[in-house]
Amino acid sequence: MKKTYGTRNTGHRIRGQNMNRPTNYELRTTSYEQSAQALYVHIPFCRSKCGYCHFYSVASSVERQMSKVALYFEQLKVELAEYKGKAGSFSTIYFGGGTPSLAASGLFFSFLEFVDREFGIGLAACESRVRCPVSRVSEAEISIEANPEGISLEYLKHLRAAGVNRISIGCQSFIDGELKTLGRRHNAAAGLGAVKLARRAGFGNINVDLMGGIPGTCVEDLLGNCEQAIALGVEHISIYLLDRKEDAAFLAGKGWEEEEELRGLEMVRAVLVKAGYCNYELSNYARPGFACRHNLVYWRGGDYIGLGPTACSLLSGKRYKNQASLRGYLDEPGKREEEFLDSETRRREKIMLGLRLQEGLSLKELSKVADGGGRDFRRRVARLEKLGLLAIEGHRLMLTAAGQPLADRVMVELF
């Protein structure tokens, strides 16, 4: 079984020599360790804060704060300029949040132009039927997170024109009651509408976020949501279960029972795989060729640069974390904590991240940071194999279907 994930494409044809670039993503893993090719941009604004959310963002009425957001984008450029020389061209950019879709499309346009000028993302004029003289396409994967609430066809088209070619829509659910429990501002119809609009705007690579384990719901509700996403024909689906460990405060003990969670995970997988999606990461499903290249960089241990408050960068064995304050960031975008990752830490991260992937963890890669995978590694792997939680295929180590719901345990065993 060999799977490759790459950008099938974005619906645009690209002019010139770039056509010959390889699309098989897997083969280029190692290059990411030499210089960052992934750029994350945090947009820390939301209409209001959702109860379960762990991301850093400030709730603000953007209408009133337009100038502030514009200023923020300027600051992002200032911060990015610092990385000149530490990154070549970017092959993925990800605008995450917060709610990036609150920012005016023009800001993305100018920001991407800046990135292209300073680093290169292969922006080129579009030759398609979109008759817009300023329309750009890029061979890089450029994603944006969007909330269903308040996005218009117009806006989405502008994003496309700015070069954004992948959109991740925070539908969470297609059931009004669930959305209410979650404290989302949109309803189910808005979620469906947003996906359709994105398609009409020309997005050929759409992700939908879904949430499971919401108090008062059952596995069937989640499955219904999956069916809905499938029916919408999206290329990518992320499924997050609210979690006893991480979301304890929000759940207040009312979440799913373990048996339900397990059944949920299993059934979701069955339904999505049957519909042609590949469970390429523990919580992520994609049609072949539509795995999120940006996130793959994280999971494969590649270097990346992150901009904005709380964003992290990984560069040559050091991780940097920006301060968790918008105000602080606006004053001093370069202020960040540095963490040196020694070989043991790198080994653990490789295990923790690699095992999330269906392709698994490359033992060869692991051996580069720790001989034979570390002390006792073989013995521990053998034990977990015997328990049916791990499998080895060639030089790759991966979780089995039984091991997936116990991923954290297995990782701890190998730490």
């Binding site: 979690d243 991480e246 397990l262 999971w299 992290c312 990984l314 116990l406 991923a407 297995v410 990782m411």
Partner: protein, 597 residues
């Protein structure tokens, strides 16, 4: 000083009835303690004892008291005050001719009041009854008076009333000591004979030996020997406590004090031994005491295996000031290296563990306490106190266990639940006696094993703290006890094994496996926990398999935090003890210790 001007006495009381407070008043009255400088309750000098309100080591203080133009030397010999320690009380009493039997006017007679009174009667001491805390609003002096008259047969006019707190009646009490306690006997001119009634350890000088002089005198420079061993030493220092240590050079017949003779090993100065002149061994030693034998045992293990040496040093040191403590090295598959320790009782055990942890900065794991069993088979007899050494069941062996006589005094309203518990603990009723319309004395014979686990706490909580207890050992009796093994994931874990009566094995096993299943975390596979006698499983439960433990989201901004979460999980695992494939947290061992009946 002439013997006729010497009085040697102790104060005995139930805990908290005011013994230490009264002792302080005596010191002030006698001018040995400056009230402005007084430290509270000087004789209780160990921090831990103060916290727990009990005294472990007895000491003696000399008071000077003038009456009718005559100066008296009053030696106040402190006694420890808790149920485990009647041995230690009795050895202090051997040094006295009289006691003050102190009773709290708000509480009346309690179990240890009785125990102490009987001990004093056994020693044929002059007993002066004192009713304390008469200043308190809820004092019921009349009732306590009639209890004392009814139960011990004191005469009304013998009863003294005090408020140790306010100083009332203290003078009268001291006068009573002079008038009612007989003078010490002994031959002042004869060859030296002195009774060792306690010792402590000074890190610069060695063993400090407390003695009660009987015949002759002891001087610095003198060559003395101990009757039992015959080993002789040269006396370096002779003195008294006032309460500070004060060197006075010699002690005469009837006096109480200490001497130091460069003795490094406390076992060479056994309590109860007779000190005599090296060259003139008397025909008869003084009546000594019973040797103190530990009756309660448990394994003590350091949490961190590398602390084994530290634990050994700590025990060695503690033993210097606590002759009753015994220990020998042992090892256990789950806990690695530690010591099997013997104690006088459960409280002694708890205090010792606390001292080791606090004073020696150790983290310890203590195994379930056990008692001694005597086993006879094919004409051979041997003793077992460790579940690990318990023999397999066989028809031709007999097992005997120690029975004690337990006295419980309780308000009448709690009587019936207490009787239920005593019955449940295999108790046999001996007698019931109403001390007054509201308080009753219950005397039962029960196996010691039934009392070492959680009995005292039960008693206290059942009676809202009002019941009190005391016990004395009786004898070994034939019994039906079995060893229960605990198997975790099919592997026997010696540290959890326990010995209990056959009739109770099921119930205790069930409690044990259930407790363990609450504490042992879920693993990636189901973990069976079973209790077995021989090969027969009598209780079982399962720790269900952990089936889901996965973090949904893990992206670039969160990797460090997620990694640290897993690292913390890993660290938690490391702190546990691996038994086969199963990780058992240290709390499990502690919980087994605290397991309720």
């Amino acid at each position: 000083m002439e013997q006729k001007n010497i009085r040697n006495f102790s104060i005995v009381a139930h805990i908290d009835h005011g013994k230490s407070t009264l002792a302080d008043r005596f010191l002030e009255q006698a001018g040995t303690l400056d009230p402005r400088k007084k430290r509270d309750q000087l004789m209780d000098n160990m921090e831990l004892e103060r916290e727990r309100g009990i005294t472990i080591k007895a000491k003696a203080v000399r008071l000077v008291y003038a009456q009718a133009g005559r100066e008296y030397q009053l030696n106040l010999i402190d006694t420890p005050g808790h149920v485990d320690f009647s041995y230690e009380v009795s050895r202090s009493l051997k040094a006295c001719e009289g006691v003050l039997l102190l009773v709290d006017a708000t509480q009346g007679i309690e179990a240890q009041t009785l125990a102490h009174a009987y001990l004093s009667l056994e020693e044929d001491l002059d007993i002066i009854p004192v009713i304390n805390k008469i200043d308190m609003r809820n004092a019921d002096v009349g009732k306590v008076r009639s209890q004392l008259v009814k139960i011990f047969g004191f005469k009304e006019q013998e009863l003294i009333e005090t408020s140790a707190k306010q100083g009332d009646g203290v003078e009268a009490t001291m006068r009573a000591v002079v008038e009612r306690v007989r003078m010490p006997g002994g031959d002042a001119a004869g060859p030296l004979r002195a009774l060792v009634f306690d010792s402590s350890f000074d890190f610069f000088r060695g063993v400090v030996i407390f003695i009660r002089m009987v015949d002759g005198e002891i001087r610095e420079g003198q060559e003395i020997s101990f009757y039992s061993s015959g080993i002789s030493f040269k006396v370096d220092e002779v003195g008294i406590f006032t309460p500070e240590r004060k060197r006075i050079g010699r002690l005469a017949a009837g006096e109480v004090g200490y001497f130091i003779a460069g003795i490094k090993d406390p076992r060479q100065a056994q309590v109860g031994d007779t000190v005599c002149e090296a060259k003139q061994r008397p025909a008869e030693p003084l009546p000594g005491y019973r040797e103190i034998k530990p009756v309660v045992f448990c394994g003590l293990y350091p949490q961190a295996a590398e602390d084994y040496g530290k634990l050994k040093d700590a025990l060695d040191r503690l033993r210097l000031s606590d002759a009753a403590l015994s220990y020998q090295a042992e090892s256990s598959q789950a806990l690695s290296f530690g010591f099997r320790c013997g104690f006088l009782g459960k409280l002694h055990m708890e205090i010792t563990i606390e001292r080791l942890e606090r004073e020696h900065d150790l983290d310890l794991i203590a195994t379930t306490p056990s008692v001694i069993y005597k086993i006879t088979k094919g004409g051979k007899e041997w003793q077992v106190q460790n579940p690990a050494d318990f023999p397999e069941i066989s028809a031709d062996q007999e097992i005997h266990e120690l029975y004690i006589e337990i006295s419980v005094i309780t308000p009448v309203e709690y009587m019936s639940p207490i009787i239920d518990v005593l019955k449940d603990r295999r108790g046999t009723h001996r007698r019931t006696e109403f001390l007054d319309p509201e308080r009753v004395l219950l005397v039962y014979e029960v196996p010691l094993a039934e009392v070492v686990i959680d009995f005292y706490d039960r008693l206290k909580s059942m009676s809202r703290g009002y019941a009190s207890m005391d016990y004395t050992p009786l004898d070994y009796r034939l019994t039906q006890v079995v060893k229960v093994d605990i198997l975790i994931n099919k592997e026997r874990v010696e540290a959890f094994s326990f010995i209990c009566h056959r009739d109770k094995a099921r119930r205790r096993s069930k409690a044990m496996v259930e407790k363990l299943s609450e504490i042992i975390p879920r693993h990636m596979f189901a973990v069976p926990i079973q209790a077995a006698i021989g090969g027969e499983i009598i209780a079982r439960t399962n720790v269900k398999a952990m089936r889901k433990d996965v973090t949904s989201k893990c992206y670039g901004g969160d990797i460090t935090r997620k990694r640290k979460l897993l690292e913390r999980q890993k660290k938690g695992k490391k702190k546990m003890q691996s038994i086969g494939q199963v990780e058992v947290p240290k709390e499990a061992f502690l919980a087994a210790l605290k397991l309720e009946e």
